[in-house]
C-alpha cells in the first residue's frame, strides 16, 4: 500500500522561474515552449536550450505522461520514488511518484500530475498512476 509520504523541501525559486511555481500553486503544470523552433523544454529557461531564441512562452501542459525511469530509495526513511516522467508535450522531467504502491511501478506506465505541498514553499508537480 501507499507508504508514508516524504516531506518535500521547498524549491528555491528565482525570478526567472517564479511563473512555474505560481502556476503550480494554482494547480497548473506549465512548460516552456519556443516560438522560434516550436520545441518545448524543461526545466524552464528564458532562452530556448534547443535553438537559443528568447521567444519562449509558458504553456499549460495536459498533466499526463508516462514513466521513463524511476527508482525507489529504499535506504531513505521513509522510502520515496524518484522518477523521470515524459510529458505528452515532449519534455521529460524529474519528479516523485506518490500515492502509489512502489512495488507495482513500471516503466511506460501512464501517470498524471498531482501537486504536492512542500515544506514552507509552493507545491511541486508530482505524479501518480493514471
Amino acid at each position: 500500500m501507499a507508504a508514508a509520504a516524504r516531506t518535500i523541501p521547498a524549491p528555491p525559486t528565482n525570478v526567472e522561474v517564479q511563473p512555474f511555481f505560481d502556476a503550480a500553486a494554482a494547480g497548473r503544470l506549465v512548460v516552456k515552449r519556443c516560438l522560434a523552433c516550436g520545441e518545448s523544454h524543461h526545466y524552464p529557461r528564458t532562452m530556448c536550450p534547443h535553438c537559443g531564441s528568447d521567444r519562449t512562452e509558458w504553456k499549460d501542459a495536459s498533466g499526463r505522461g508516462t514513466i521513463y525511469s524511476y527508482s525507489v530509495l529504499r535506504r531513505a526513511t521513509p522510502p520515496y520514488a524518484i522518477a523521470y516522467v515524459t510529458l505528452e508535450e515532449g519534455p521529460t522531467m524529474m519528479t516523485n511518484l506518490v500515492d502509489c504502491d512502489f512495488d507495482a511501478l513500471r516503466i511506460g506506465q501512464a501517470v498524471r500530475v498531482v501537486f504536492t505541498p512542500t515544506d514552507g514553499g509552493p507545491p511541486v508537480p508530482t505524479f501518480t498512476p493514471a
Partner: protein
Amino acid sequence: MSLRGKAYVAGVFEHPTRKADDKSLAQLHAESAAGALADAGLTKNDVDGYFCAGDAPGLGGLSMADYMGLKLRHVDTTETGGSSYVIHVAHAAQAIAMGKCDVALITLAGRPRAEGMATGTAPRNYGVTTPDVPFEFPYGPTVVNQYAMAAMRHMHEFGTTGAQLAWIKVAASHHAQHNERALLREVVTVDDVVNSPVIADPLHRLDCCVITDGGGAIVVVKPEIAKRLKRPPVKVLGAGEAVKHQRGGKIDLTYTGAVWSGPAAFAEAGVTPADVKYVSIYDSFTITVLVTLEDLGFCAKGQGGKFVSDGALISGVGRLPFNTDGGGLCNNHPGNRGGLTKVVEAVRQLRGEAHPRVQVKNCDVTLAHGTGGSLATRHGSATLIMGRD
C-alpha cells in the same frame, strides 16, 4: 595538432590513507603532490603548471599554490566532478605542447569520512543559484538514485540483469584481494552482490563504490624532461572530453558522453578498442562501468551485460582486464572522486608495476576513463589513452 607523444606521465601517487582524521585537506593535496614528484624524480621547484578541481580548498589553484609554495606560469581548475583529473592530464599535455609549462602537477584530495559527509544517499543541493535546483532538489535526487534510474532504464531497454551488473563488482573484488591498501579485500560472488541490501532499485549495496578519504597526484612533463628521468616513460597518446546533459528535457539515460570522448581519444591516439590491453573505467557504480564500456565501443550498445559476465573483466581470466587495483568499487574513491586513481593504475600497468597477480602481460596501450556528475543527465566524460614508448 595531435597530442600523441607531446607529453609524458612521469610520476603518479595514490595516497595510502583511507581515513584521514589526522590530516587537513590542504595537507592531503600536498602529501599527494610530494609523492608523485618523488615518483618522477622531480621536486616542487620543477613545477610550473598546476591543475586542481572543486575538491581543492579555498580558491583552488591560488590557495594550493600558496600552501605548497609553487611558482607557476600555468594554472587550470577545470571542474567536471570525478572526471576532472582525467581531463587535467589532457589539458596538461595541451599546455605542454603549447609551451605554456614544462612540468604539470595535478592533485586531488578529500576527507568525506573524516567529515561525516552523507555521500550517496543524501540529496546534494549545489546552491540556490544552480538552475536545475528548483526543479530537481525537491524530489530528493541523490547520487545513487540517479545512477539507479539509468540502470533501471538499461534493464528495461536491453534486458540487462542485476546478476550481469554484479559481475563487475565480482571482478573488482578479485583484483582488490591482492591490494593490501584496498578498503574491501574480500572476494565476493554474484550472489553476494544481488543478495546485498537494495539501496535504490535496482542497485544493491555492493553495486556502489566505497567512500574513502585520501587523494592522489599526477606529474605530466614535456618529452625532453621525460627522457632524462629514471622511471619507465608513459606517453600520452590521445584524449577526448565531453559534457552530456539533459538536452532541454530530451533525456536519454542509456548512454554517456563517452560516445563522444571515446572516439575522439581513439582517433587522436591512432588506436582502436582492440588495441587496448587494460582499461581503468570509472566505477562509481556497476552500471557506470557497463554503460561506459558500451559507449567506448568495447561492445555494442545494449550488449554490456553479456560482455561483462563470467569474469570477462578479471585480469588473467577475461578478455578485458579492468580496474586491477580494485577500483572505486573495492579499493579507493578518494573524496568521492575516482578519476585520478583511474589514471594511476593505468600508469602502473604500463610500467609493469601493478601487483604481479593482476599485471597484464605485454601491456603497451591502456585507457583510463572518468565520469563525473549525474550519469547521462549532467556529467563530464573524459577518455585518456596512454602507451609505452
